[in-house]
């Protein structure tokens, strides 16, 4: 699990068997007919200073996972250990202090910033509330934040709607950083932005990670963007992590059939790599069905499935002895490299 290379090996964040189930109701009296397993037994750990990418398509649960980590949703099962302490068994006052260390940057900057407050208020309020600043140094601190994200000082008196999407995203990042978090969860922070602005924000995030020694989780569906900022990447499908590896290793040698199909489907910006997309295109669509979950969630669509797959116990295993490349497919590593 963890490699001892002489440095501090205790992970900053550990997630164990995390679950989030929603109940599906039906009938006159809203009987529960089953559960929708949005997050279904997810485990991983992150070390200080690293960036973990979470990728997957709609319904995979990556956003729900991110929200559980920062406390916006309560897990149905499993544990979240921050600096070794279990967040789910903490009392409120303790939790409040820890919450400031786990912050989130949202996808839709327009709806996550209060339209009735100007930027100074938006940035100052959290710091004042948590006692990280007082009336004397608040201006200084807010200006420092603006500087950090590359915004001009005249932004302070203006309102969110006066800014462009990219600028609002910078404000959102500044707000998240204002409480000096140790862990930053970015939930699709660039998906709603134009290509050229995406690059600006991605570079900003990358620089901030280095400057502030941030640990972050980057959730995205744009694989190229996630690759750019992440050290390791986890691929999720229907609530489970199916593969977890270093970014370059993952894209060079994907082992899970879903990962392979996913990466094959991404159109590369190089006309010379044009192939008949039909090669890797998988049929069908992902569906979350309520009901007992057994076996591999990708089973219905997998081109390599076998009978064992529908009943196998799902867990992430190293692809080979001692490897840090984890995969949940029971067939991984058995066939030759594709």
């Amino acid at each position: 699990m963890l490699e001892n290379d002489g440095m501090d090996t205790k992970p900053l964040l550990q997630v164990e068997g995390l679950k989030k189930y929603y109940t599906a109701k039906s009938g006159i009296f809203s009987r529960n007919i089953g559960e929708i397993r949005a997050v279904d037994g997810v485990s991983f750990s992150i070390h200080k200073g690293e960036t973990l990418g979470l990728v997957g398509e709609s319904g995979c649960g990556k956003s729900t996972l991110g929200r559980q980590i920062v406390g916006l949703e309560q897990p149905t099962g499993g544990r979240i250990l921050y600096k070794g302490r279990d967040l789910s068994h903490m009392r409120k006052p303790e939790l409040k202090a820890i919450r400031t260390q786990l912050q989130m940057v949202f996808q839709d900057s327009y709806s996550s910033l209060n339209p009735r407050k100007h930027i100074f208020e938006i940035l100052a309020e959290p710091m004042l509330y948590h006692g990280l600043a007082d009336r004397n140094n608040i201006h200084q601190k807010v200006e420092y934040l603006l500087d950090l994200v590359g915004l001009a000082k005249n932004a302070l008196g203006r309102y969110p709607h006066e800014f462009s999407g990219g600028q609002r995203q910078r404000i959102g990042i500044a707000k998240a950083l204002s409480l000096n978090p140790s862990l930053l969860v970015c939930d699709e922070p660039v998906s709603a932005l134009d290509v050229s602005i995406q690059a600006q924000i991605l570079n900003l995030l990358k620089n901030l990670q280095k400057e502030l020694d941030l640990t972050s989780i980057f959730i995205g569906h744009g694989l190229g963007a996630v690759n750019y900022v992440s050290d390791r990447i986890a691929v999720m499908y229907l609530g489970q992590i199916v593969e977890l590896a270093d970014s370059r290793e993952l894209f060079d040698h994907p082992l899970h059939p879903y990962s392979k199909a996913l990466f094959d489907a991404v159109p590369l910006a190089d006309p010379r790599t044009r192939k008949r997309l039909g090669g890797g295109v998988i049929e069908g669509e992902a569906e979350i069905l309520p009901g007992p979950g057994e076996g591999c969630p990708f089973y219905p669509r997998c081109p390599r499935r076998s009978r064992e797959c529908s009943a196998a116990k799902m867990e992430l295993r190293p692809a080979s002895e001692g490897s840090s490349h984890l995969v949940s497919c029971i067939h991984a590593g058995q066939e030759g490299v594709d």
Partner: protein
């Protein structure tokens, strides 16, 4: 869908009972009917005796339970004033109210639906401004003012329409006679309803005209008529049904003033006198009927929504 209907009906019962309890309580606080009957020549003893006879000396919740008990046996009680059975009173006055309501609703729809749709399709045109202005007048003119104005014009000055009542005094009526008596009250009611409806339908249709599926329909080259009259209008049914659903309870109670002014022998008139006389049983009877009508109208509207728009589903 059936489950949904059953669920709604089941919820309706406690709602009804709740409504009647509140109605009864309000009435009791408003005062005793005996206050209306008192005069200088009536002794306290007589009043007390009357009170006991009517059961008014008991606490209000006992009175309510007695009323409820009687109701469940099908007996709505007797008017304190006229000693007539409440159910037959309601029965005889219901007809005229339904007639007035029904015709006003239809007339107002005939006025407002085409106008609202036309207005939305030709937004910012002269026709649109004319319709919108007219609708403002319609909803702003007070009912009593319009009534008196119409009476003045058509009865006093021109003498072509009767000023009140349902049938000409002394005659047995006939469809034409009733129709002539109905013209003005219907006009008053439907003009004010149309005023509000037009604006609502207009804005609903405007919103529909912005929808992407209309753009797709145009891209298919099926022709402008089809795009508007098939694709847009079918979606406009939902707001129109809403409007109808909203109007029914309003009509039920709101005809009171118009019925007074035109002496139309409907529920409104009857209810007014009952209220002035503190005639409990009659008031409760009308309240109950009113509550049932509103609940039913809401339920039927919701069902019709699901029929008209398949994207609306109830589990």
């Amino acid at each position: 869908m059936t489950k949904y209907i059953i669920k709604r009906l089941l919820i309706a019962l406690p709602t009804l009972i709740g409504i009647t309890i509140i109605d009864y309580a309000i009435m009791c606080f408003a005062g005793s009917p005996l206050e209306m009957m008192q005069g200088a020549r009536i002794s306290q003893a007589a009043v007390a005796a009357k009170e006991a006879a009517l059961g008014l000396d008991k606490p209000f919740y006992i009175q309510y339970i007695m009323w409820l008990g009687q109701l469940l046996q099908g007996n709505m009680g007797f008017s304190i004033k006229s000693y007539e059975a409440v159910s037959s009173m309601i029965g005889s006055h219901l007809g005229p109210t339904l007639l007035l309501m029904g015709v006003s609703l239809i007339v107002s729809l005939i006025m407002s639906v085409p106008a609202g749709i036309y207005s939305a399709i030709h937004q910012y045109s002269k026709g649109d401004y004319a319709v919108v202005t007219a609708s403002f007048f319609g909803s702003s003119i007070p009912g009593f003012f319009l009534s008196l104005l119409l009476v003045y014009i058509f009865n006093v000055t021109l003498g072509i329409l009767p000023s009140g009542g349902m049938v000409t005094l002394g005659t047995s009526g006939g469809a034409g006679d009733v129709a002539a008596h109905m013209v003005m009250p219907v006009l008053v009611l439907s003009v004010s309803m149309a005023g509000t409806n037009i604006r609502y339908i207009r804005s609903a249709v405007l919103e529909i005209l912005q929808q992407d599926y209309l753009r797709t329909a145009r891209a298919k080259g099926i022709g402008r008529r089809s795009v508007i009259y098939k694709h847009a209008l079918r979606n406009a049914l939902v707001p129109i049904v809403t409007v109808i659903g909203m109007q029914i309870p309003v009509l039920f109670g709101g005809a009171v003033i118009v019925e007074q002014l035109f002496s139309w022998p409907g529920l409104g008139l009857m209810t007014m006198s009952a209220i002035l006389n503190r005639d409990y049983p009659v008031i409760m009877g009308v309240c109950l009927l009113s509550a049932v009508v509103v609940l039913l109208a809401n339920l039927v509207t919701d069902i019709v929504y699901a029929v008209v728009n398949p994207a609306i589903q109830y589990d």
